[in-house]
Symmetry: C2
Subunit: 464 residues, 2 copies
């Protein structure tokens, strides 16, 4: 595959930032291209984010949805995977700066593909994060698993009815797909898996609240499917509160502002935040150095070919990019990554043959539809047909969800393991991944840890 | 099963401390006894410790070896599982004090079974723990998984040959079963699973050192099997250093004292400590209040019926107890737990019938043998036959190990899932549980975190 006489140093350098759907698909689509690929990411794994909620609620293990990126790309000899947190892109010198454990690195590029995704957005209230973790990373999912299961443990030991109620109240903020899935799964966890395993409390009395500032559940899926999902959740026992805006989150609960301006308080030990996304800060970093613009969510407004203004060799794909009509879902990133890889491939071929590359065609998104599971045996799905949309819910949609997600999981063993995990949870009521670490069982907020450490440092100071 | 007219409050109260083999087997053996059981443990799960090294090296998920104790005991209506760190046993008032997240609890008992196990011992050098985690808990295993895989990641980015060598050197201190298994698995991880997935380093150049102050590998298994294990490990590439005493451990390596008194230094980023055990401090707590004695490892010297002097209603089983001839292995704890449960059962029956219970027969340990895996397809095993011992190694021993461990794993789904995990690792070379969290990927020692936090607090103080 290697270009005769080309060495690593004089080959065209493609740097990809990220290890999600966009980054991985761009890298894989370049496997037959004579370029030198460096994929720099903050995690060692490729995360299959759509199933993250199943890690958080004890159905599957983190290994099933987060295999190491370097093992996926093991056989692709033109790609190197590097762990590091990218802190800055230097457009002028064509360099990417990254940090790993106090060591800083500068990596040169000829072509840059930014696919660093998005984090949770707290709409300017970052202090909420402490009390209401997001649902974006494996760390988030394991942290939430610890908090959810830990709340039941604390309730079992509490003799104060008010405290017990607070511990058994779970608030999920944001009624998009992740919020709907989390709310449904916390309810099923309590009603089915945990049922009968406590002596002092009844876990089926857990109170799950799904809350959104918008007037509907699953707004992007339309009124009909949103209503279907809402009815199903309510039938399961989830309380749905719409038109409710969160104005404060603290250790003991949240404060909500109604549409009429009045505020009320929900006492709840466990809060999950799935309300908004904020693109990687690298988007703003580009905007500072070029004519590139970002939208309010920090997404980069890209050219029709997903490059940025004035830099045809710098592309942005996936959740970091704003492209009208492309939703922030796996398919958007996958298709964006493959599209950019094709441009890079064509232009590399042209360089090799000394010809002029074909002009770039604009990126066009092919809508394959979308779906969300509500509970076991129940999902909602929409598939575009011609100019209309096929919308359906219930068992058939759930089967479609099951099959599609199995197909997309990486690796044969993972597919079998996940099928096994689903079998015990969906056909039975068990969950095989309910382990929480001691660190999680005794989880204190970072603030509490800081206070404790500060106190111990103070003690040490006085002692010496 | 309930005694007519008996309510929870007037039933005989059995408190069990711990959730390991001893505690769980005592609780389960009391399922048909009309007593009120409270099992108080520091973790929510029952840990199958013999396979912990497979979690640390990415073969199986934590869920497979650490199911929630309350789900195992779900159907046993006379048992309640409580999360909490037991801090004190009050022998005079028959109370157990425990703590959970700042809340303290006092639990009364009529009969107490202490089965809180043992932690890692650093022989008075607890500051080693920071740099050389033990192998006793799920937290330890996940922490080590992060450090081991993280070291390869850092090495891939390093251009300094000396630093790279340090990052690719792994020292396992303690050549008992856990040390042998860890050393073998780190070597196989590097040589088989990671091989070919890096571009800058060659993971097969990883240098694994197994080190012990004793003159032999696997001393309790005898000279012949120890030699077999040693030869096999050396053939795999593990360097074995015997008669080598660790005198210091820091971030960058360890210092070793030879038998002749000279010292030398091994530069190694990753250290694993499996050199000694220290029984739960609750043993010493008992000794302070009674005529009970503890040995140097903190184990309680118990009466022949596993009770403590002067307190026939207080029993100690498993790794917390010193019983001549009983090794600190799962079987010792399992048999101890069942034995004590039988005493409690008999005496409860006598109370119910107003009769005098049979005198307690002393505990006798039935040696079922022991085994340790060295590598895939290779283990050593010994089984007592008459007054002698059947000793064997190699593939047959490995098959026996495989079968026995599968049988002892809790739950049908877990057995299937683990068999699947083993199939891909042992017949292939993949590992399905290689995920590390961001927290682990960017792991810094607690000391470094403290220094950082102290600096930021200082900054805040100056700013305000």
């Amino acid at each position: 595959m290697s270009h005769p006489g080309a060495t690593a140093s004089d080959r065209h350098k493609v740097v990809i930032i990220g290890s999600g759907f966009g980054a991985l698909n761009a890298a894989k689509a370049l496997r037959h291209t004579d370029v030198d690929i460096k994929l720099i990411a903050r995690t060692t794994h490729h995360l299959f984010q759509p199933l993250l909620y199943q890690v958080a609620t004890g159905i599957i293990s983190e290994g099933e949805i987060a295999p190491p990126t370097r093992l996926i790309l093991r056989k692709q000899r033109n790609a190197q995977v590097l762990l590091g947190d990218v802190t800055h892109v230097d457009l002028e010198h064509k360099m990417v700066d990254s940090v790993l454990l106090g060591h800083t690195y500068r990596t040169p590029y000829d072509t840059l593909i930014l696919a660093a995704g998005a984090g949770q957005s707290y709409f300017g209230n970052d202090h909420f994060a402490e009390f209401a973790p997001g649902m974006k990373t494996i760390d988030d999912a394991l942290e939430l698993r610890g908090r959810i299961l830990g709340a039941f443990e604390q309730a079992e030991r509490s003799s104060d009815p008010e405290r017990r109620r607070k511990l058994l109240t779970f608030v999920v903020v944001g009624a998009g797909p992740t919020g709907v899935e989390m709310a449904g799964q916390i309810q099923e966890l309590a009603d089915q898996t945990l049922k009968g395993s406590f002596r002092h409390i009844d876990p089926t009395e857990a109170h799950v609240i799904l809350l959104d500032a918008a007037p509907a559940v699953l707004p992007p899926m339309g009124e009909k499917l949103g209503l279907k999902a809402k009815e199903r959740l309510e039938k399961m026992g989830v309380e749905i509160q719409l038109n409710a805006m969160v104005t404060d989150v603290d250790r003991n609960g949240i404060t909500v502002k109604e549409k009429d301006g009045s505020t009320r308080r929900i006492e709840a030990a466990t809060k999950v935040w799935s309300a908004g996304v904020q693109a990687s800060p690298l988007g703003r970093d580009l905007a500072h150095q070029s004519d590139t613009e970002v939208d309010r969510a920090g997404r980069v407004v890209v050219n029709p070919d997903l490059s940025i203004p004035g830099h045809p060799n710098v592309f942005v794909v996936g959740d970091m990019a704003f492209v009208p009509g492309v939703p922030g879902m796996a398919q958007g990133a996958i298709q964006g990554g493959k599209y950019v890889a094709k441009i890079v491939h064509n232009e590399q071929k042209a360089r090799e043959h000394g010809t002029i590359p074909k002009p770039r065609e604009p990126f066009s998104y092919f809508d394959k539809g979308s779906m969300a599971t509500v509970s076991k045996y129940n999902a909602v799905a929409q598939i575009p047909i011609g100019k209309g949309k096929l919308e359906f819910g219930g068992f058939i949609a759930w089967l479609a969800w099951l099959g599609l997600h199995l197909i997309y999981l990486v690796g044969f063993k993972t597919k079998i393991a996940t099928l096994l995990s689903w079998a015990v949870t969906f056909f039975g009521r068990q969950r095989g991944q309910m382990t929480i670490t001691e660190q999680q069982a005794y989880a204190r907020t970072r603030l509490e840890q800081l206070e404790e450490i500060a106190a111990s440092l103070e003690d040490e100071k006085q002692a010496s």
